[in-house]
Amino acid sequence: MEVSSLPISASHRGKLISAGYSSLSSLSSVSPSKLAQDLKISENEVLEILKVVSARKWVDKIENRSHAIMNGAQTAWDILHEEESSICITTSCSDLDEILGGGIRCKEVTEIGGVPGIGKTQLGIQLAVNVQIPADYGGLGGKAIYIDTEGSFMVERASQIAEACAEDMLEYNSLLRKDSQACRVDKPPKAFMDNIFYFRICTYTEQIAVVNYLEKFINEHKDIKIVIIDSITFHFRQEFEDMALRTRLLSGMALKLMKLAKKFNLAVVLLNQVTTKYNEGSFQLTLALGDSWAHASTNRIILYWNGNERYAYIDKSPSMRSASAPYAVTSRGIRNSASNCKRVKLM
């Protein structure tokens, strides 16, 4: 273990190395007062450095003693078990759930993009409601965080979708669970609305701040199972002359979100906009924020129009193959496309 890679301030590191202490073992046998003399810093600062050193050494010891071959690694078999027993968040459209392998997965970052009016916010609100479906009905029974950067979240619509979900649950209850009256779980629409935590973000600084703050927030409010950011693009599409800064900030944010997803076992859904790209002689639509951002998410879903129907296409996924599925936006939320059934009723 080298001193040059310790997470201490640069000047302390420089002083240690120029005084000849280049490895951790050399620091183990020296007394704090001698070190203070050698480095010409105060004893308090030396004690801080030694604290960091001993923390690092403890980690090294664990590495050598653990039964796993590498610290922090998990065997593929364990991961398979985990994945099979994890519950996905349904999108309320069975065709869409099928191509997603059950729904939106936890521990993964899913990016969903499309042209304006295709239904990205609708899908976001539907997921914020569906994550709260209790375990008895096959859901996660969790809470949702909705980070709104554009002001597209409409409470009336969330209320409509929550009511429709509660009605569907009641119907399911009466149809299929007539025998088990005892474990009826009643979830009024008001309860759904109470469990959606809404942040309104007005600048990119606030966006970075909220992603940083999420860790503390999720620690305080248990059971958060989905974080939806609608949209991740809006504040990064303007006022950036420095594209390199934008890429750095975006990738930093993507890493933090991925860490959050893994640490708290929740799903992160990012909604993105579209832009045009010149490719092979013609302009084509593509998701915004550039090519380097395309690597940031685990899964990528593109929503598009095909004729008169809305379709979703899996553009990128480590486990599901590329496929399209139709879906519809109804007054009750996202549902299966009713291509040969009765037309959607007007309100």
């Binding site: 002001g151 942040f199 909220v210 703050y213 599409r237 906009q273 045009t276």
Partner: protein
Amino acid sequence: MANKPISEMGLPKSIANVFAARNIITAKDALSLSEFELMELLDVGFEEVMLAVAHISEITCPPYNTAMSLLEQRNQNEYLAGHLPTRLKGVDAALCGGIPFGVVTELVGPAGIGKTQFCLKLALLASLPTSYGGLGGRVIYVDVESKFSSRRMIEMGFSSFPEIFHTEGLAQEMAGRVLVLRPASLLSFVDSLQQIRVSLLQHHVKLLIIDSMAALTSGRIWPGTPRHHPLGWHISFIKSLAECCRIPVVVTNQVRSQVRDEASRYIFQVQSRTDTMEDPSKFDSHLVAALGIHWAHAVSIRLVLESRSGQRLIKIAKSSISPSVGFFFNITSSGISLLSDEGVEMMGPEANTIHCQGLI
């Protein structure tokens, strides 16, 4: 929030001084750097930097609301739970009450279809006293193309609310509530926006109309990097105006011709050449909304006005709470009136296409 100085955030003195010494004054400066960059710049350990950044983030982050509390606030504090009724029954029903507060609503359509008429009617409706169903407040009308006609507005008033308008002095009172701004250029528009922000709260402004947005950016030579969207900052500003003052903002947009090779497909949508040639929808509609796709993403409600074989149609093209539906309408002395309150359902992306057939 982003420009809040770090010195006021309650960080421990030692680290706050270090931030100030390295010229990192506001939260924006601090959060634009990664933790490692901060560590190098400030010459402090990783733990300290993490704690400082977490603290700054917590203070900078706006407070949260549950969706339930938002709904309750709207229902209690706002007129009709935050909607301005347009008095067109079908449209109001589809929009759950009317033009919503706090978001940008866009009216787009070819020239002469009735966008300005619609705006005049909305200005009238907002200035009506609350006892008669209006918002009882001032209206700021940004008239870029000098199309505002107060005579027409008052004519609409007399025609739609004859019993109210014949009251002595009411017409004058209401016309007195509509403030018309005529910016000559984008620059003076920007100045006006800053003024508007200040006066919005002080003077009980209840509606902001910008007619039209596209005219502000057309015919103007832009210095600077061509990659930049000239309206980027303005879009955010207008949206934030709408939101913090909780007023409806109505913006009109023009149309332009569609370029032959307009991007409408993704790379995975393979289209053979023959299909592209024979696509009938391409022949029918050669108009698209101006201002581009970035603007299209930014508006929350888009109402498309068009003409099909001489019949005028108003369509709800983008809205999170309404289905895609259109209503045929006429322009009468009282503004716009629907031919029927039963809408026509718009299938698929048809709601977004703009036709201009038969409109002389």
